[in-house]
């Protein structure tokens, strides 16, 4: 897997030195091995800190909203999941495609730092990645054990790019993407209510889920806008937790690519993706399978209709 990084670095250096791009959007080494951070590199020298490994879970596409407003072209490395967000942003005219040089990169799943910590790993001294396994500090894990939730169900493919850097066939998902949604659906309303009450009452309204979300690129969010009628800054009442998360999920419904960033960044580990995935599951079931970000032109399911659509009262099949 380290070979991938070398190829990417080479590509970045070449494009920078040829002047094809003026900047490179990628990931930068951290202090503890796992604390890799997204970064923009502007010189061959700064690329010394460039890294691409199992800790590069962060989705880079949203940064392009601002980056493509600047002068010059930027090289971006897109994992499969990032690419879907990228396409969706292109579709919504949020990224200027002419200013991006896209390189698709292979991804075999990224590690969830929390899961690593649960396994007692405090600092990453060394690691080896294989397609199905990763050895961290000499301890061998199957990928399914420690990858991010989004990676364990990932069915995303490499899409259209200016170039692709990929060596191995992609690992197949460990489980069904809708497993947990289905489990919740099969519970009683009381059980579901109790589940979400516990989860959402932990919410501290830090807005990390919103700010990291590539579908949330509003200039000003309705929750920050005192004129929207629903502005709120803290969950002063249990209602507001629900309001915030329902409206947020609704606003990204049909646009959410299921990149899983919301759950990755939540400091309280609220499985927020289960809200978005519920909408995705419903959309697939009611209006035909739809994957946001698979292309850059199709109409989203909420800006489309058929005359035969089910009535809300028939959605539950009862």
């Amino acid at each position: 897997m380290q070979k991938l990084e070398t190829l990417m670095l080479e590509k970045a250096k070449n494009l920078l030195s040829s002047g094809e791009v003026s900047r490179v959007l990628g990931w930068k080494k951290g202090e503890l091995g796992y604390d890799v951070e997204p970064s923009v590199f502007t010189s061959a020298q700064s690329l010394d800190n460039f890294v691409y490994n199992v800790f590069c879970g962060a989705n880079l596409s949203k940064y392009l909203v601002q980056e493509t407003k600047k002068e010059g072209k930027i090289l971006v490395f897109l994992k499969p999941c990032d690419s879907y967000s990228f396409n969706q942003l292109i579709k919504e005219h949020r990224i200027n495609k002419d200013k991006v040089y896209t390189v698709g990169v292979e991804c075999q799943g990224k590690i969830d730092n929390y899961k690593l910590k649960e396994n007692g790993i405090e600092v990453v001294e060394s690691f080896d990645e294989e397609v199905d396994f990763v050895t961290v500090n000499g301890k061998k894990f199957t990928k399914g054990e420690i990858v991010l939730g989004k990676c364990s169900v990932c069915e995303k493919k490499l899409l259209d790019y200016d170039e692709v850097i990929s060596i191995n066939e992609k690992r197949s998902p460990d489980k069904d993407r809708f497993e947990m949604v289905k489990k919740l659906e099969s519970m009683t309303a009381d059980e579901r209510y109790a589940f979400w009450k516990d989860q959402l009452s932990n919410c501290i309204r830090c807005n990390a889920c919103r700010n990291v979300c590539p579908a949330c690129t509003c200039t000003k969010c309705v929750f920050d806008n005192d004129n929207s009628g629903i502005a709120s800054k803290a969950n002063s009442d249990s209602f507001e937790e629900k309001m915030f998360h329902i409206i947020r999920a609704f606003h990204v419904a049909g646009r959410c690519t299921d990149c899983g960033e919301c759950s990755r960044v939540c400091p309280q580990h609220i499985p927020l993706h289960l809200l978005n995935r519920k909408f995705i599951g419903d959309i697939n079931r009611l209006y035909g399978t739809y994957q946001a970000g698979e292309d850059t032109t199709s109409k989203g399911p909420l800006t489309d209709y058929t005359k035969q659509d089910v009535d809300p009262s028939d959605v539950f099949g009862g």
């Binding site: 951290g30 503890l32 962060a58 309204r205 830090c206 990390a208 920050d224 803290a234 969950n235 580990h269």
Partner: protein
């Protein structure tokens, strides 16, 4: 010195909560935060840290101030500040204890924040020594000894037992009422503390150099070009500020109820683009400016105004929680001195 077997500790919680309300780390839906002890809660003293810090108990995320009741064209104004009964805060780590000192400097200076003070006065703090500090911990840099957190009562886990040492009158008074405790031996505690101190020395961030962060370097630090790169990936979310034990910014907002208005205050974050919105808007227009503000405040402005006291306690929550792995350690390493 008193002690109890950890296997028996529920009895202690029950006894304390029969005397006063007891708040302690509770795990709910996979996340541990301070919460009221009640039957059936999942107490979690094994986790080193709660997600939200203990400041929540004195300076909650959201808190009522005034109620305005409107009837026709009449408005009635009611004081909505909650009166705090004495309560026990159990399981506070050294870093969070240190943060109370920082917060006191903000809230208890004139004009005193009565809402904060009433809760601060009501508390008896039982601290807990950190048997296993984590790689993200750097409290020692800010003068915290995680082996010796000086609360009203200091608790230390040694093996399968927990030891209690009263350090204040309030602590002694509470401890004297607790019949579930038995007498304990100080020696075991001393050796545990030594062990902790040795562990602390091996932590990766234990020797951060802060020497550059001085009032006289203010302008130089402010203008450092590194801020741009340090803040590049910042999303502008409030995670670092909301999990931070010393961040103390708040907003005062009105909520329209069915018969009037509730005025409340709630945490705010200098990382937000809507923060300190003045007549026009936030004077700090870029995320870099906001990011710089947060760290300049913690490492330069606050100490300059508070006798050299930094408003970071090295708890490492931001290290663990920042969605994009930005944190104060990266700032200190870049700008603090010889790092």
């Amino acid at each position: 010195m008193k002690k109890i077997a950890i296997s028996n500790i529920e009895k202690l919680y029950n006894e304390i909560s029969s005397l006063q309300e007891l708040y302690l780390p509770v795990k709910k839906a996979g996340a541990t935060n301070f919460a009221k002890y009640e039957n059936g809660v999942d107490v979690d003293i094994k986790s080193l840290q709660t997600v939200k810090s203990a400041k929540d108990l004195f300076f909650p995320q959201s808190e009522d101030m005034i109620d305005f009741k409107v009837s026709g064209k009449n408005i009635e104004i009611k004081d909505a500040r909650a009166q705090s009964n004495p309560f026990v805060l159990f399981g506070v780590r050294g870093c969070d204890l240190k943060s109370f000192e920082v917060l006191d400097k903000v809230f208890l200076q004139e004009p005193v924040d009565t809402m904060y003070k009433s809760k601060r006065d009501a508390v008896t703090v039982i601290t807990l020594a950190c048997n296993n500090p984590e790689s993200s911990c750097f409290c020692k840099v800010f003068g915290v000894d995680p082996a010796n957190p000086k609360g009203d009562i200091q608790a230390t886990i040694v093996g399968e037992e927990m030891f209690f040492e009263p350090l204040t009158d309030k602590g002694s008074e509470l401890l004297s009422k607790l019949t579930t405790l038995e007498d304990g031996d100080e020696k075991a505690v001393e050796s545990e503390k030594k062990e902790i101190s040795q562990k602390v020395e091996k932590l990766p961030f234990v020797n951060l150099d802060l020497s550059n962060f001085k009032g006289e370097n203010l302008m130089e630090l402010f203008d450092r070009p590194e801020w741009e790169e340090l803040s590049k990936a910042c999303l502008g979310c409030g995670t670092c500020t909301f999990v931070c034990p010393t961040c103390q910014c708040f907003d005062i907002r009105d909520f329209e109820t069915n018969d009037g208005v509730k005025r409340f205050r709630c945490w705010d974050s200098c990382m937000y683009s809507e923060f300190t919105k003045m007549a026009a808007e936030n004077p700090r227009k870029t995320q870099m400016q906001r990011y710089r503000q947060r760290f300049m405040h913690k490492l330069v402005y606050f100490p300059a105004n508070n006798g050299g006291e930094y408003s970071c306690v090295g708890c490492g929550r931001c290290v663990k929680k920042c969605p994009q792995s930005l944190n104060i350690v990266k700032v200190i390493k870049k700008l603090g001195g010889k790092n």
